[in-house]
């Protein structure tokens, strides 16, 4: 029997400070065993359990894209014991990875559609995965327009600044970066994500909106999207309940009869409206 609790060993090859509040780092991991590399096939939107041996494991959305072979990337905010020790882990250390876990963004369904990615703060991780996937030259043709609305409190708190700069240069992507308050040297928009969403006003026609962000952003983005005419089954979200096993057994991440780890984390807004509000 395949043991879903056993992690595969991976080597931390990059521990990179993402935000200037020093709370979010990105970690790039490299497969140690060829076989693991082969077996670890994932789709944007999935997550994995990352183990710091001796400290424990925590689930994180996979920030890398299947189009970046050989590595996995996670962006982790420092909040507890595991994440803090992860931040202090030296490059070269062996970490454990268990996954891929959970469902994913419905890639097949998204194909041929316009995609709007809306995100705030450090919740951008799995959207980066999806964006990178879509922008890959082999896949770009499968999707329609790609609009990204991504905001943070200050410029320093945006993730993946270099990549954003590169995307900015591309013509096949409509990127809107925004920050809460004007700042020196800032060339993007100013304003909260819901507000910018309304400004940008993506058309709901043949479109899916994928929204990841802090609860407050979600709360105000939903009416904005509704106003623009997005139906609740056109809006896709990813939940972040507390998880442990990641395989639907340990009992803590359920929302109604659904386990976020096994049946999620990706749900349409229509699905979520059917579920109790315990997330």
């Amino acid at each position: 029997m395949n043991n879903p609790y056993l992690p595969i060993p991976m080597k931390l090859i990059k521990n990179f400070r993402e935000t200037d509040d020093k709370l979010v780092n990105s970690f790039t991991l490299e497969f140690i065993n060829e076989e693991d590399k082969k077996n670890f096939t994932y789709t944007p939107g999935q997550f994995a359990e990352l183990s710091v041996f001796g400290k424990g494991e925590s689930p994180f959305g996979i920030a890398s894209s299947p189009t970046e072979p050989g590595i996995l990337k996670f962006s982790v905010a420092k909040v507890g014991k595991v994440t803090t020790s992860l931040h202090l882990t030296e490059e070269g250390t062996t970490l454990g990875v268990r996954g891929p876990l959970g469902n994913s963004f419905p890639i097949e369904k998204l194909k041929g559609k316009n995609i709007v990615l809306i995100s705030g703060g450090f919740a951008f991780t799995t959207l980066r995965s999806l964006a990178t996937y879509i922008l890959n030259e082999n896949n770009r043709g499968d999707f329609g327009n790609l609009t990204i609305i991504y905001g943070a409190r200050t410029p320093g708190l945006l993730l993946y600044k270099e990549e954003l700069a590169e995307w900015d240069k591309r013509s096949d992507i409509d990127l809107h970066k925004t920050i809460d308050k004007p700042a020196e040297g800032w060339d993007g928009k100013v304003g909260f994500v819901p507000q910018v969403t309304e400004e940008v006003a993506p058309s709901p026609e043949n479109t899916y909106a994928i929204v990841c962000g802090p609860p407050i952003m979600i709360k105000f983005t939903m009416p904005a999207l509704e106003k623009l005419g997005f139906k609740s089954d056109q809006i896709i979200m990813s939940l972040e309940n507390r998880m442990k096993c990641g395989i639907g057994m340990c009992g803590r991440c359920n929302v109604g009869s659904k386990y976020v780890c096994k049946d999620g984390p990706v749900f349409t807004r229509a699905q979520l409206l059917e579920m109790p509000n315990e997330y």
Partner: protein, 337 residues
């Protein structure tokens, strides 16, 4: 088949050659399932064990695997329990609980090797309940004092001996030296079964739908009011299965350990951010009831309760699940807000 009571100790002793044998043994004024040293330690004349036998297949703490951090990486060692086991003298309700746990640990996507391995290697020898307790309500949940669900053998106490009903092939193979039961014995057995009546029943009919419609009902505020949020109900429940996974370290290595957890504990669902989707007793208690009588039914088509009554007896403030279900039954269906 017939097993005389005086032969039980020898029988158990002989089983010990091939199996880890678990049976109810006396502890303080109650009984608990323990691995027995001597066949004579087994007490079959008991009302119900304090805690359910689920801990045999799903221990309160178990090592999943251990690891050692070394210069050139991490060595991992999986912990597996391959021992053959017999749980002797298990009540039908407890036996049934394993069929429920089976669905937990083998969901549509993943299999839990620890539980499933043990389960595969375990023979369940049940004993029928000649005198069900007042807190028992197994019949309301489709079980019964002599229900054979999940069992390999069932013993029926007919006085000096047990009539052994063979339910599975596995069970049959165990009984090498038992004589066949006579007509008299069979008659006695059916007499016993008839006499074993439950004093409590609750109406489970339609409860799932009631729950569906009353998630936001204010009744939850009141139902949970006296709950003190401890885990004694969940830890004494044969079907509760929530767990936590932690690392325990020693020296340069450590183990990943799984411990029972309880959905009644606030930390159970607390996010790192401080947000808690089930912030108070009310939500936690509701989830517990919903899980057993609604969510589990939805996903597995079976209620995650066997009516053993332990949560009633063990609750420090006498929360009684029967009362709660009754109250829910009494609710007029209200629409979801």
């Amino acid at each position: 088949m017939i097993l005389t009571k005086k032969d039980v100790p020898n029988f158990l002793d002989s089983l010990k050659n091939n199996y880890q044998v678990f049976a109810p043994v006396k502890q303080d004024h109650y009984t608990e399932f323990k691995e027995i040293e001597n066949g004579a330690d087994a007490v079959l004349d008991y009302s119900n064990t304090k805690t359910p036998p689920k801990k045999i297949l799903f221990p309160q703490s178990e090592k999943l695997y251990c690891y050692k951090v070394e210069e050139n990486g991490v060595q991992m060692e999986e912990k597996a329990d391959e021992q053959q086991k017999v749980i002797f003298g298990i009540r039908p309700c407890d036996a049934k609980s394993f069929t429920i746990l089976d669905k937990v640990f083998d969901n549509n996507k993943y299999q839990d090797p620890y539980y499933l391995n043990r389960r595969k290697n375990t023979i369940l020898v049940g004993i029928g309940c000649n005198a069900p307790e007042s807190t028992c309500f197994c019949t309301s949940l489709g079980g019964g004092p002599f229900d054979t669900t999940g069992l390999d053998l069932l013993l029926v106490d007919i006085g000096d001996c047990y009539l052994v009903e063979v339910i599975s092939e596995k069970g049959k193979n165990m009984l090498t030296s038992c004589k066949e039961a006579g007509e008299e014995d069979k008659k006695k057995a059916s007499q016993v079964k008839e006499n074993a009546t439950l004093t409590t029943s609750i109406n489970i009919e339609g409860i799932k739908e009631k729950l569906d419609n009353n998630f936001y009902n204010e009744i939850w505020d009141y139902i949970s009011e006296k709950c003190i949020g401890c885990g004694s109900c969940t830890f004494s429940c044969p079907t509760c299965h929530c767990f936590d996974i932690v690392d325990e370290t020693a020296d340069s290595g450590g183990c990943r350990i799984r411990n029972w957890d309880s959905c009644m504990f606030p930390l159970f669902t607390l996010h790192g951010s401080g947000h808690n989707p089930r912030p108070s007793n009310k939500e936690r208690f509701r989830n517990r009831i919903m899980h057993k009588f609604n969510y589990f039914v939805e996903t597995n088509d079976i209620t995650a309760c066997v009516g053993c009554g332990r949560c009633i007896k063990n609750c420090p403030v006498n929360m009684d699940i029967r009362e709660i279900l009754e109250e829910i039954q009494g609710l007029e269906a209200r629409s979801v807000s």
